[in-house]
Structures are given as structure tokens and as C-alpha cells.
């Protein structure tokens, strides 16, 4: 295994992934305001939802007394969704300007090109998550504990990877930035068609059914556990399993599209 990783081909692959991640980081540093929409949107949703729906905690059956704690993991995951969708929009832009064509004729395997985009989105998603968390704490959100926080950030990074796979699939399929609303809508629906606003027992009938079927529900519950109670393995593994399934499905879709592009 170690020998395989040290082979020149593998090292070139890892270097390519690293280069693509550095390119994504450079965009944040060099383009003024590139990170702002991804950070602002979940922050606004967090503050807005808290101000508007905060009284929901007065309903019988609501698990916590403060809405900030309940909704902050949802906003962090929303930020991951927006960041992943932005990765798709950027890929579509790169296709429009011919950059993707140049990458495709390089000797790098196509899975490497996809991995660079997806891993960069995972890393970038931590920026809005940290920002939202830093705002939520002084507003009264509960400290989730180190284990709860680590699990939340892991869920955010993995959810951004899922969203980036979805965005990349659409970007390479439609080959236009006009697909942006579809990318954003898909990730928004995935995160919000869960017990995002209220516990599952308090959701309306149809949303209860959808939330039970939506694998992202397990991700939301796993990311939330430290904020509303204690961290347990029983609440963690379903989230990890759901993410693995989502990554498998959307990763396969994106990779297939990447392999078929310009062929």
C-alpha cells in the first residue's frame, strides 16, 4: 500500500489534487469578496430563522429552550451546501472559458480532477461553518463539547463534498453557469427537507415522511447532537453511513459525467 502511494504516478496524482486545491484557495485570496456570499447566506439564515421562528421552542415537545442551539448546525450544513454548489458554478465557469478543456487533455486521470474540486469545496466549507458557529456562541448557542464540535465540522466537510459532486455533475452535464439555481436548489432541498426547523414529531405530515426518507436527516441529527444533548455513537453512525451513501451516489454520478465529458 505504501509502495503504491509512493509510486511516481500516485505522487503526481496527489500533486495535481493539491494544485487544484491551491487554485481554489487562491481564488478566495485574490478575488475580493469571493468567500462573502458563501459566508453571508448561512449567517443570514441563522440570524433570520432565529429571530423569526425562535418562539417555536415554546411548543410542547421541543427538545431545547434556545432555538440558536437547535438551528446552528443546520446553518453550518447550509453553508456547506452553498459552498459545494459554488464549486459547481466555478467548474461551469471554468468550462465556459476553456480551462476544463485544457485540464482534460492533461495526463491527469479524471478522478483526480474531480477530487481536486471536491476536496477544495470540503476545506472551504469550514470557513462559513466557523463563522456561523462563532456568531452563534455569543448569541446563546450551547457549547457542543469538543467531540460534538469535531463531529459537526466533519459532517459539514463531508456534506460540502456531496454538494460539490452534485454541482460538478450538473456543471459538466449542462456546461453553463445558468445551471447555478439548480445546483443551489438541490443542496438547499437536501438540507432543509429534514427536521431543520423543528423536531421530526412537530413537522407537518408530508414533511415528516420526506424527512424520514431523506438520508440528510441523519446527517443533521448527528451534527446537532452536541448542541441539544450529549454525543453518542448511536446518533453518530447513522450520519456517517448516510454521508457514505450520499458520497457514493453523487460521487459516482459526478465521476461518470467527468469521464464522459468531451468524449
Amino acid at each position: 500500500m505504501e509502495a503504491r502511494l509512493r509510486s511516481p504516478a500516485r505522487q503526481a496524482d496527489l500533486a495535481m489534487i493539491g494544485a487544484l486545491m491551491v487554485r481554489a484557495r487562491n481564488e478566495l485570496v485574490r478575488v475580493p469578496g469571493a468567500a462573502i456570499p458563501g459566508v453571508l447566506a448561512p449567517t443570514i439564515f441563522f440570524l433570520g430563522l432565529n429571530g423569526v421562528f425562535g418562539a417555536l421552542t415554546n411548543l410542547p415537545g421541543f427538545p431545547v429552550g434556545d432555538y440558536e442551539s437547535f438551528v446552528v448546525p443546520v446553518s453550518m450544513l447550509q453553508g456547506a451546501g452553498f459552498t459545494g454548489a459554488a464549486a459547481g458554478v466555478n467548474l461551469a465557469r471554468d468550462y465556459e472559458i476553456g480551462w476544463v478543456d485544457r485540464l482534460l487533455v492533461s495526463p491527469a486521470p479524471r478522478w483526480v480532477l474531480l477530487a481536486g474540486t471536491v476536496l477544495a469545496a470540503s476545506a472551504r466549507a469550514l470557513i462559513p461553518a466557523i463563522f456561523v458557529f462563532a456568531i452563534a456562541l455569543p448569541l446563546g448557542a450551547r457549547w457542543p463539547g469538543v467531540d460534538g464540535l469535531v463531529i459537526s465540522f466533519a459532517m459539514v466537510a463531508a456534506m460540502a463534498a456531496v454538494a460539490a459532486c452534485w454541482g460538478s455533475f450538473l456543471a459538466l452535464r449542462i456546461k453553463s453557469q445558468a445551471a447555478a439555481p439548480l445546483m443551489q436548489m438541490g443542496t438547499m432541498a437536501l438540507v432543509l427537507l429534514t427536521p431543520a426547523y423543528a423536531p421530526i414529531a412537530l413537522l407537518q405530515g408530508w414533511l415528516q415522511e420526506v424527512a424520514r426518507l431523506n438520508p440528510a436527516t441523519e446527517v443533521v441529527e448527528a451534527a446537532r447532537q452536541g448542541f441539544v444533548g450529549s454525543v453518542t455513537w448511536a446518533d453518530t453512525w447513522p450520519g456517517l453511513l448516510a454521508l457514505a451513501g450520499l458520497l457514493l451516489v453523487f460521487g459516482a454520478l459526478a465521476l461518470r459525467q467527468m469521464q464522459n465529458t468531451n468524449r
Binding site: G33, I36, P37, L40, A41, I44, F45, L47, G48, N50, G51, V52, F53, G54, A55, L56, N58, L59, Y67, Q177, A178, A179, A180, P181, L182, M185, M188, A189, L192, L193, P195, A196, Y197, A198, L202, L203, Q204, W206, L207, V210
Partner: protein
């Protein structure tokens, strides 16, 4: 042909162009219809139990209450999209060509705003239809529905005036697009999505003075209760205040654009 008729034809042509442009570009129509529809579904399903809270107005269901909020969101985003489209026209040089044509300058802005008003009408009809399909009743009947549509169209035009002013001032679509989060902030601190009395501070206090709260209540009242003259007049006054602000800003921005080119 009288000058008035000629101007009306210009406004109509530019308004039609604006509407067609929106329907042809998914990135313009999605924020007006798709996002508010998705949020309406999610918020109705997610926060529907809130109607059991003490102090919540008497409503048939949360969907009935939320229709005004969805229409407000669509209306605000229609205004923002109109501003983006005008800025794109400026970037492409289309507006410069209109400036050299023998048509009054106000007709150029009014044409765009007429298109925004039509989109507002469309959004209002869309959400009323969704409400009716999913069982929400409009308590004041057809008259109430027409009042809600008229208020949304007027408010879309008013908000579009501010978007147009920013487009004319900056000439950059990216700047107007950057206002999208601000649009959401202003809407969140109004009573568009929840009764003001049940909101959490400081949103509750801000919502009490936010003109959009008055517009939202003016649209909601005919849907959940009946037409109330005081609420309707307050909504009209709030819209007129936004129109005045938009006109003042647009006039200044138009003068600036003609001066600097």
C-alpha cells in the same frame, strides 16, 4: 401619434422585453419563483406547528399565513432581478443605445419597472394558485385576491425602483447581485414570515417599524381575515414611501450616468 401614446408604446416594448428576458434565463426566474416556492413548502412543513402558539392569529393553517411571506419574497427578488438585468444592459451597452434614441429617459427606467410589476403579478398569481391547490382559502374571496395581486405588483415596482437606481449608479450586475443577501435580511426583520408579536428581539422591534411589515400585513389580511381599510392604507403608504425613495435615487443615478457616461 401623441407623445403620450408613443411613450406608452416604448414602456410597453421595454416591459415586454424585460419579462421575456426573465423567462428565458433560469438564473433570473429561479429566485423569483423556484426559491420562494421551495422555502414556502419547507417553512410550512417545518414550522407549521407554530399556529398552536398562544398569540398566533387565527388562521386556517400555516400555509394560509405564509402565502403573503412567499409573495413578499418573490416580489423583493423580482425587484433585485430587474436591477441585475438593467445592470447587464448597461454593461452590454444596450442602455447607451437607448439613451441615444429619441425617447424620454424616464421611459427607459419605467419600461424595466413595468416588467418587474408584471413579474410581481405573475408571482402573486402563482402563490395564490399554490395556496388554493393545497387547500388554503382566501377569506375575502376574489376581491381580496385582486387586492393582494395589486399590492404585490405595486410593491415590486417600488422595490425595483431602488434596484434600478443602484444599477444605474454602479452599472455593474455583480454589485446589484451582491444585494441579494441584504434583500433577505430586510425581509427577515419584517413580519412577512411570522407574527411580529411572536418574533424574538431585536427582530421584533425592527419589524414593528419596517415598511415591509406594513406591506406584508396588507397582503395577508385579505387572505386570512378580510379586507381592512386601515391595514390596506398602511400598506399603500409604505409602498408610496418606497416609491418616493426609489424615484429620488433613480433620478440622481440617471443624472450621474448621463454625466459620467
Amino acid at each position: 401619434m401623441s407623445r403620450l401614446t408613443a411613450n406608452a408604446r416604448v414602456i410597453r416594448a421595454l416591459g415586454m422585453r424585460s419579462v421575456r428576458q426573465t423567462f428565458r434565463r433560469p438564473q433570473l426566474i429561479a429566485p423569483i419563483i423556484v426559491f420562494p416556492t421551495l422555502l414556502l413548502a419547507i417553512q410550512t412543513g417545518g414550522a407549521g406547528a407554530s399556529i398552536a402558539l398562544p398569540g398566533f392569529p387565527e388562521v386556517q393553517g400555516f400555509l394560509q399565513f405564509m402565502l403573503a411571506g412567499a409573495m413578499m419574497q418573490a416580489m423583493m427578488l423580482a425587484g433585485n432581478s430587474g436591477g441585475i438585468a438593467l445592470a447587464v444592459d448597461i454593461e452590454m451597452g444596450f442602455t447607451d443605445r437607448l439613451f441615444t434614441a429619441p425617447i424620454p429617459r424616464f421611459a427607459i427606467v419605467l419600461g424595466r419597472l413595468a416588467g418587474t410589476a408584471v413579474l410581481g403579478c405573475f408571482a402573486a398569481i402563482w402563490f395564490l394558485a399554490i395556496g388554493l391547490i393545497f387547500g388554503a382559502e382566501i377569506e375575502s374571496g376574489a376581491a381580496g385576491a385582486l387586492l393582494a395581486i395589486a399590492l404585490i405588483a405595486a410593491a415590486a415596482m417600488a422595490v425595483g425602483g431602488i434596484g434600478a437606481a443602484i444599477a444605474l449608479r454602479t452599472g455593474r450586475a455583480s454589485v446589484v447581485q451582491g444585494l441579494f443577501p441584504l434583500v433577505l435580511v430586510i425581509l427577515f426583520v419584517s413580519s412577512a414570515f411570522f407574527p411580529q408579536e411572536l418574533m424574538i428581539e431585536p427582530a421584533k422591534t425592527i419589524a414593528a417599524y419596517n415598511p415591509l411589515s406594513f406591506v406584508a400585513e396588507g397582503i395577508r389580511e385579505p387572505i386570512i381575515a378580510g379586507i381592512d381599510a386601515t391595514t390596506t392604507l398602511a400598506a399603500v403608504a409604505a409602498i408610496l414611501a418606497i416609491v418616493a425613495l426609489g424615484l429620488a435615487l433613480s433620478a440622481g443615478a440617471l443624472r450621474h450616468r448621463l454625466r459620467v457616461g
